[in-house]
Structures are given as C-alpha cells and as structure tokens.
C-alpha cells in the first residue's frame, strides 16, 4: 500500500509539473462550456408523439389525419391518461403530446375559436422548438382550409408548453454533452499517454523489473486522473450553475456517482489504448480520432441520434458517452432518480467491465 501511495504521488508530480497537461486538464472544460454556448440546429424527422383526443369529433380527426400524414411525426399512441403521458415523457420515448379538449369542434364552430394543447419535451430545446413549430403550422394549414367556406374566420390557438426546460435554454442541452466530452478527453487521452510515455522512455521496463506489481502500475496511473476528472466535474457544474444559471434538478450525489462510473469507463478505455500502442503520438491519435469523434457524433448532444440511419443508431449504442449523456440529462435537467436511469447505468458498467477484462488479458500476454 505504501508503494502504491509512493507511485500515485509520483503521478501527481508528473501532472502538476507539466504546464501543458495542466492547461488541457483545467482550461479545456471552461473553454468548451463557453464555446458550446451556441447549439446547433437540425431538422427532426419521425418524432414519436402522443395524441390525446378528448373531443373525438370531425375537426380533431381531420387535424390528426394531417399530423399523421406529415413526415415529421409518427403517432405512438392515442388517448392516454395524464399519468401515462408523464411516464412516456420520463422514459424519453416521446417528444411531444397534442391534446384536443372535449367539444373541440363544437367550440370551434360556435365560438369560432378552438384550443389545442401542445406539450413538448424541451430537454433538447432545438428539437422541441422545431416540433412545436411543425405542429403549429399543420394546425394553421387546417385553419386556412376551413376559412375558404366560412365568412367569419376560425381561430385555433395552439397552447404550447415546454416541459422540463421552459425557457428553452440551450445550455441544458450542451452542459451534459460537454461533461461527457471533457471527461472522455481527459481520461482516455491522458491515461493512455501517461502509460505509453513510460514505455517510450524505458521506465516501464524498470518498473516491470521492480517488485511493484504490473497491475498496480496501471491502477496507480489511473488514480490521479480519476481525482482530477472529479475536480473537472465540479468545475463544470459550478460554471453551469453560476455562469449559465442552470440549476441541477436531481440528486447531486447520484450525479457524482454516475460521473465516477463514466470516468472509470474512460480510464479503462485509456488503459486499453495504452496497452495496444507503443508511442505517444499513436496513443494521442487513437484517443482523438477514435474516441473524441464518436463522442461528438454519437452521444446525441450535437446531432439527434433519432435522425440517423439505423446502422449508425446501432453503432451509437457502443459509445459510452451516449449513455452518460442520457444519464446526466435525466438527473440534471429532468431531475429524475436512479429508477429512471438504472438501465443506462447498467450498460455503462457492462462496457467498463468488458474493457477491463480485455485490457487485463492483453496486458498479461504482453508480459509473457
């Protein structure tokens, strides 16, 4: 144990003595939080929606048919209770609910005014905005078709509600994304490089000849980065709460536990890369191209996964950042508890275990 502490202390000395590393470690999260202030917009197709038709009359049926025909929407279910709607939102299955009040047609015909409620999941504000706009234009379109036969215009007012994120803050969306990105970068690249560096300079050989156990070499390499990454999580959260005015709706403890799990996933990935490579450049390249790019593309924080072709959607499942992104979004923004994210947590843990087993096996082969 004393040997282990000696080793970990040495690792910290390496990190703190290297200004460039320090800058990457602590400067990057701040930069990214500030840079990603502008989220990207994208078209959204085939979003699953739910329709609650309490009216069941001519007008509501006609509007529903119009919505159904649009390529933006796919009607998941009809008529649900308020409880069911909430459950569907929490699972993240549906993006939008359209509610027709009872007597919709009657009110429309007699008072020339109808109301439709539109509720959107606004954790992803761009998507929510677009979807509500689509619905509104469909309704307006219907309204116009009525106007042809009527002298007094009919007015249908869609009453839009943005769930979870009423002000449509873009920050809601990118903070979990940046968290995933930064942790991925810090943990994977830094660990991989720091282990490969020892191989390159020849100190790894000395360590392997020493009575210090090889597995401990790897573990003690990971400890400082686990610690530093947690510091990063804290700084990102502080920035988002105090600079971006984004509250943390769920349990902070749970957020930290899940972050630790994701950090460990990334550390094992870094260890895996370091075992497979023998130069710092290669390790860096693989970490950047092989990890960063999929994280950006497939975590769902820049480009909606629902919108990708099926093969890419399947691939996205293998990207740990995707699951972490869902978890952080659920905890921070939706304020959900463990019961809502246990599946994602399990998948992350599974990926970690798998990577760890593969790394351990390969490490032994190399020593033989």
């Amino acid at each position: 144990m004393k040997q282990f502490i000696t080793f970990v202390r040495k690792e910290f000395a390496h990190v703190f003595r290297d200004r460039k590393t320090l800058f990457i470690l602590f400067g990057m999260p701040v930069m990214q939080i500030l840079i990603f202030g502008f989220a990207l917009t994208n078209e959204v197709k085939n979003s699953k929606i739910v329709i609650v038709d309490q009216a069941r009359d001519l007008a509501s049926q006609q509007i529903i048919t119009k919505i159904e025909a649009s390529r933006y929407f796919e009607i998941e279910k009809m008529v649900m209770s308020g409880k069911e709607i909430e459950a569907a939102f929490r699972e993240g299955k549906i993006k939008l609910v359209v509610i027709f009040p009872s007597n919709f047609n009657e009110t429309l015909l007699h008072q020339n005014k109808g109301q439709i409620q539109v509720i959107a999941d606004a954790t992803d504000p761009n998507t929510a905005n677009m979807l509500t706009n689509y619905v509104s234009s469909i309704i307006q379109d219907y309204q116009k078709s009525l106007d042809i036969t009527q002298s007094v215009p009919y007015v249908i007012v869609p009453e839009v509600r943005m769930l979870y994120n009423p002000q449509l803050k873009g920050a809601h969306n990118f903070v979990p994304g940046v968290m995933a990105l930064v942790l991925m970068l810090v943990c994977v690249m830094m660990t991989a490089i720091s282990i490969v560096k020892e191989k390159e300079t020849g100190t790894m050989e000395i360590l392997l000849v020493s009575p210090f156990k090889p597995v401990l070499v790897i573990l003690s390499k990971a400890v400082p980065y686990l610690f530093l990454s947690l510091v990063n999580v804290v700084s990102i959260l502080l920035l988002s709460v105090f600079v971006l005015d984004l509250p943390i709706n769920g349990s902070i403890l749970l957020l930290f536990v899940e972050s630790t799990l994701f950090i460990i996933t990334c550390l094992t990935l870094g260890i895996f890369i370091s075992i497979k490579t023998s130069s710092q450049q290669v390790a860096m390249l693989i970490s950047l191209m092989g990890m960063l790019l999929p994280t950006m593309l497939f975590s769902g924080f820049m480009f909606p996964i629902e919108n990708m072709p099926i093969p890419l959607q399947v691939i996205s499942n293998a990207v740990p950042a995707k699951w972490f992104y869902i978890i952080v979004k659920s905890i921070m923004i939706k304020g959900l508890g463990f019961s809502a994210i246990w599946k994602e947590t399990l998948i992350l843990a599974g990926i970690t275990l798998f990577l760890f087993a593969v790394s351990l096996k390969n490490f032994k082969i190399r020593l033989a």
């Binding site: 000696t6 000395a13 300079t201 050989e205 000395i206 360590l207 000849v209 009575p211 033989a368």
Partner: protein, 246 residues
C-alpha cells in the same frame, strides 16, 4: 568454494521458429563482475530479460540468487537491480524525487530512503543538484545516477544493459569506479557492453554468437586461448562467424 548467484542450464528462448537464446549454461559467483558480450542480435537482451523475470524461458533451468526463474519471479525482483540501455529515471522529477520514488517502490522505509539517498548524493557529489530536475543533468551524470538508483535497495545482483552507451571515456571510467565499488560490497554485476576496453575490466566474460555462448573465461585466459593481444580480436574472431545481424 564461492557462492553461486546466477546459474543457468540449457536456458532457451524461442519465438516461433526463431531460437533467440539457444541452450546457454553458465554460472556467476557472488561479487563477480560478469561481462555478457555479443554482437547485436546475438540474444543478449533476451537472455537478460529471462534472468530478470521479464520473460518466461521456453526451456532449460535458471536460478537467480537461489530462486527459480519460473516460479519465484516476484522474489527474484526484490533481489535484483536493473539498468537498461535507455536512460530510465524520470526526467521531469528531481534527483531526490527519483530516489524517493524508486526507494519507495522497492519497499524501503522513509529513514532508509533518507539515509541512503544522502549517501548516494554525496558519493556522486550532487549535493547542489539534488533538487534540480534530472532533465537538466549531463548524460554522464544521469547514467551514474541511474546506476546508483539501481543499487539503492542493495540488490544481490545488478543487471546492466549497455549502461555506458554514448558516454565519454572519462565518465565511463568513473562509471566503472562505481561498479567496482558496488562489487567490493558483494554486489554481483552482470553487464552487457560493446566496448572492448570495458570487457577488460570484467572478472570473467562470456561471448554470445547466434544465441549460443561460444566463449567464457577471464579476459586474460581468452586472449591466451585465441592467441591474440586484445579483447577486440577475440570478439572479432568469434563474432565474424555470426549468421544473424541486426
């Protein structure tokens, strides 16, 4: 009878069809400076790696300080020191930090590290540099420091893999003073080198050609045996026949 600290019998390492080390048998005694010579690719490094417990032999028997290289690698590691041809201290740590680290992973107590570290630094005359980064030292000093760190935990045997590569003759001479010093204290030195003047400093040397030990004796006896005046010529006569190159 002198105490045997390294003993191998038909020690062999194969990589697929390639026999890197072919049935080498030899003994090294306590306090001896044993030169392990051979052209590039002769199998020196592979043999050394097996003795250090870094690589598992394909066949044959070997014991280091009385411990078996197959089963007792962990015990062996506690009893040996190792210095490789690459400079292998941490350049971004200070001299003191390096001493503390390597002392620490060999399980020395804080007091031991302190007293031995001070002794080492004064022996090398590095008092003023103790808190400087190793990167700022000249290569010769780095190599001397590297050796001193390798014997810090008082190993029974020290393996030196081409320790003086790229070092000037004066520093090399000083480096060998350190080796003699350690040998006088009973540390066995197992050293590979390409410098034939260094071979002359050894008590006994072996010369490996194509994975086999072709000659093993004291430098004086070898010169007599091959009827030549210098180790250079002994080495040349043996290595000329080698089929493997780089």
């Amino acid at each position: 009878m002198r105490e045997t600290v390294i003993k191998t019998e038909k020690l062999t390492k194969r990589f697929g069809d390639f026999v890197a080390v072919n049935e080498i048998s030899f003994e090294v005694f306590k306090g001896e400076i044993f030169g392990f010579l051979g052209a590039n690719g002769a199998g020196k490094t592979t043999a050394m790696r097996m003795l250090c417990g870094l690589s598992v032999p394909s066949s044959g028997v070997a014991s280091i300080a009385g411990f078996d290289v197959y089963k007792q690698t962990e015990t062996i590691k506690k009893n040996i020191g190792y210095m490789s041809q690459k400079f292998s201290l941490y350049e971004d740590l200070t001299i003191l930090e390096n001493i503390r680290f390597f002392g620490g992973i060999y399980g020395l107590s804080d007091e031991q590290i302190k007293s031995k570290g001070e002794e080492l630094i004064s022996q090398l005359g590095l008092q003023k540099e103790a808190k400087k980064l190793v990167a700022s030292l000249p290569l010769g000093w780095k190599q001397k420091l590297s050796f001193s760190v390798a014997v810090l935990h008082q190993p029974k045997i020290v393996f030196l893999d081409e320790p003086t590569g790229g070092v000037d003759p004066v520093t090399r001479r000083q480096f060998w003073d350190l080796i003699y010093n350690a040998a006088d204290k009973g540390v066995t030195i197992f050293v590979t080198t390409h410098y034939m003047d260094e071979a002359e400093y050894c008590n006994r040397i072996s010369i490996m050609v194509d994975g086999k030990i072709e000659a093993l004796d004291s430098p004086a006896n070898l010169k007599q045996q091959f009827k030549v005046d210098s180790m250079d010529e002994v080495f040349y006569q043996l290595a000329r026949g080698a089929k493997r190159g780089d």
